[in-house]
Amino acid sequence: MSDPRTDAAPAGIDYIEVEESPRFTELKRRQRSFVFPLSIAFLVWYFAYVLLSSFAPEFMAQRVWGDITLGLLLGLGQFVTTFAITMAYVSFANRRLDPISEEIRNDLEKREVSA
């Protein structure tokens, strides 16, 4: 890593410099601090549901009202959380990720043209 510039793309952009820039580290931090915890959360919730269905069938077969069981409600809950996470991510990405990534991209494109 004595001189990373020699490995840079033909456009002459030093990606290591871009990567270390405060704007990019902020973008990366925002993206990862949103998607990682959320991914762990939905996987834990999904496997909790699968394990409950596999090892606690009586618990899941309890009637909540009429013929609707707890397992059915929790299963429909998986649909609800999936839709909710989808919308939450889209709104987050539109507000918090897209503006900053667009800014960096426009910057790089300008640099590419002038290089």
Partner: protein, 539 residues
């Protein structure tokens, strides 16, 4: 999958079969889609046109196409039938297929779109050593496509044969050949654009048909889920009758088998090469995000419909009639269609099932051809030194070869129990593809050795465990009815997926050669900002 045809067979036997009506309905489908495919083919000039439809589809269009690619006949007929017979456990199965899309949305889709060109291997080999990584990624891609394709072809042959009333082996083989030729024509002429339109049309028909049937079933049950469940319980033959409302009927005997399958379902989707390739058909990462969002709503909505259809078939048709039908559980949806709307609705639903298979095989074929031509031929064998039209030429020839192999394979497995192939495809995708995708997108320390070990190790583990399992040995439905299975579970995921992740880590930490930090920085910057990403082509 192979007993998809039995589903139709059942319905066909209970009513006066009307092959003329059935043939007309799906001849109409073939005519309409062929027309679209030929129109779509006019602008197929470059590799980007052929493999990625010129990256010109919108998010919503691609969302429909993804649903059309993803909702196979197994998920339509299979899940409806599983819910009709086993109630809750069938529903449990569909949840994994949906939740899996969050992995694609949050971790994979946009970053893949930004860094790749045509195939999964483009992304995986971005900052690692081209040759070995591309080769490994192409082999796992071809393996997944092959397993999935074989399952679909066998189903297609049987389905069409029975709709046309052909029972002899020779006649069925001719039908498999016709299906294969049709698929070759779609993909050869239409490329990705044509394939995408076939998938969009099919998604409309499938979701539309399921929606109408759902409203119909709900209307007959006073628009109350509770009444529907009560009617399903009343018609149930299980002991006790309300066992269909709770877990255990299908997977109760061996919960570990289901857990193993559940892991493969939720982690496999984001590693399916034909799904990943769909992200390159849109112009930007933002459109890729929109496509996944549309796909999640459509697929989620569809699985909610199958819940009603499954319990509806249990209540209106009854489990005894479904089980007695030659197609067994898979006949639930067609029998329900017959019960609701008579031969015409049955013909329509059968044509939709056929369209489903055709759309899925077309998507698989173009993915496999792209991977062979772009990864193996152009980048590994020729080291990138090919004339502009050379790659597409090879891809087109590959389509013909894959089509012929699929026809031979489809004829070869007639009458075999090959339902395990779909689950195997998901297990391979989750064990061999997903670890490398996630590591190369998010872990700086990942190396070429890690990627190669993870992909070959994950692939080998999944295939070997399936071969040692009860799927092959010693059961009523096994491929070989003798011997005993060394590995007790039908699904390899619980071992092969952690193994794939472990090998990726082990290979990386034992590498002596560090990877190029500048390439890694470039990949990271490009994946998050979309700088330098492939743009749409304009005509």
């Amino acid at each position: 999958m192979n007993d998809v045809f039995g589903a139709i067979h059942a319905a066909v036997q209970t009513v006066e079969n009307d092959p003329v009506l059935n043939i007309s309905i799906f001849a109409a489908f073939v005519a309409v889609t062929l027309f679209i495919v030929i129109r779509a083919s006019r602008n197929n000039k470059t590799a980007a046109d052929y493999y990625a439809a010129g990256r010109s589809f919108t998010g919503p269009q691609n969302g429909f196409a993804i649903s059309g690619d993803y909702l196979s006949a197994a998920s339509f007929l299979g899940i409806c039938g599983a819910i009709a017979i086993n109630g809750y456990d069938g529903f449990l199965y569909s949840i994994g297929f949906l939740v899996a899309w969050l992995v694609a949305l949050l971790l994979v889709a946009e970053l893949m779109r930004n860094t790749g060109k045509f195939t999964m291997a483009d992304v995986l080999s971005f900052r690692l050593k081209q040759g070995p990584v591309r080769m490994a990624a192409a082999i796992t891609t071809l393996a997944v496509c092959f397993f999935y394709l074989l399952a679909q072809m066998a189903g297609a042959g049987g389905l069409v044969s029975l709709l046309l009333g052909i029972k002899e082996t020779i006649g069925q083989s001719i039908v498999v050949a016709v299906v294969g030729v049709l698929m070759i024509v779609y993909v050869l002429v239409g490329g990705m654009k044509g394939t995408t339109w076939v998938q969009i049309v099919k998604a409309f028909l499938l979701i539309g048909g399921a929606f109408v049937m759902t409203i119909w079933v709900l209307a007959l049950n006073g628009f109350s889920l509770d009444t529907l469940l009560a009617n399903a319980v009343a018609a149930s033959t299980t002991d006790p009758k309300d066992a269909i409302l709770g877990p255990g009927l299908q997977y109760g005997a061996n919960p570990w088998d289901f857990i193993s399958l559940a892991i493969a379902l939720v982690l496999g989707t984001a590693g399916l090469p034909h799904v990943l390739m769909r992200f390159y058909t849109v112009p930007t990462a933002k459109e890729a995000r929109r496509s996944v969002v549309w796909a999640i709503w459509l697929i989620g909505g569809f699985y909610l419909l199958t819940l009603v259809l499954g319990y509806g078939a249990a209540a209106l048709v009854g489990p005894e009639e479904i089980k007695a039908a030659p197609g067994g559980v898979n006949s639930a949806a067609p029998l329900l269609a017959l019960h609701l709307g008579g031969p015409f609705l049955l013909g329509f639903i059968s044509a939709v099932a056929f369209a489903t298979i055709l759309a899925v095989v077309a998507g698989l074929t173009i993915t496999a051809a792209a991977s062979f031509a772009h990864d193996i031929y152009a980048n590994v064998v020729k080291k990138g030194d090919v004339p502009p039209d050379g790659e597409v030429k090879v891809a087109r020839r590959t389509v013909i070869v894959i089509g012929i192999l699929a026809i031979i394979g489809g004829i070869g497995v007639q009458g075999q129990n090959i339902a395990f192939l779909v689950a195997l495809a998901f297990a391979v995708a989750a064990s061999a593809n997903l670890p490398t995708i996630l590591y190369s997108l998010f872990w700086r320390g990942f190396t070429t050795r890690g990627a190669v070990w993870s992909m070959y190790g994950g692939l080998a583990a999944a295939v070997i465990l399936i071969f040692l399992s009860p799927v092959f040995w010693g059961g009523e439905t096994s491929v070989f009815k003798v011997g005993t299975a060394i590995w007790p579970l039908n699904n390899p995921g619980i071992v092969s997926i952690p193994l794939g992740f472990f090998l990726g880590w082990l290979g990386s930490v034992t590498s002596r050669k560090a990877e190029d930090p500048a390439k890694a920085a470039e990949m990271e910057v490009r994946s998050l900002t979309g700088f330098g990403a492939e743009k749409a082509t304009h005509h």
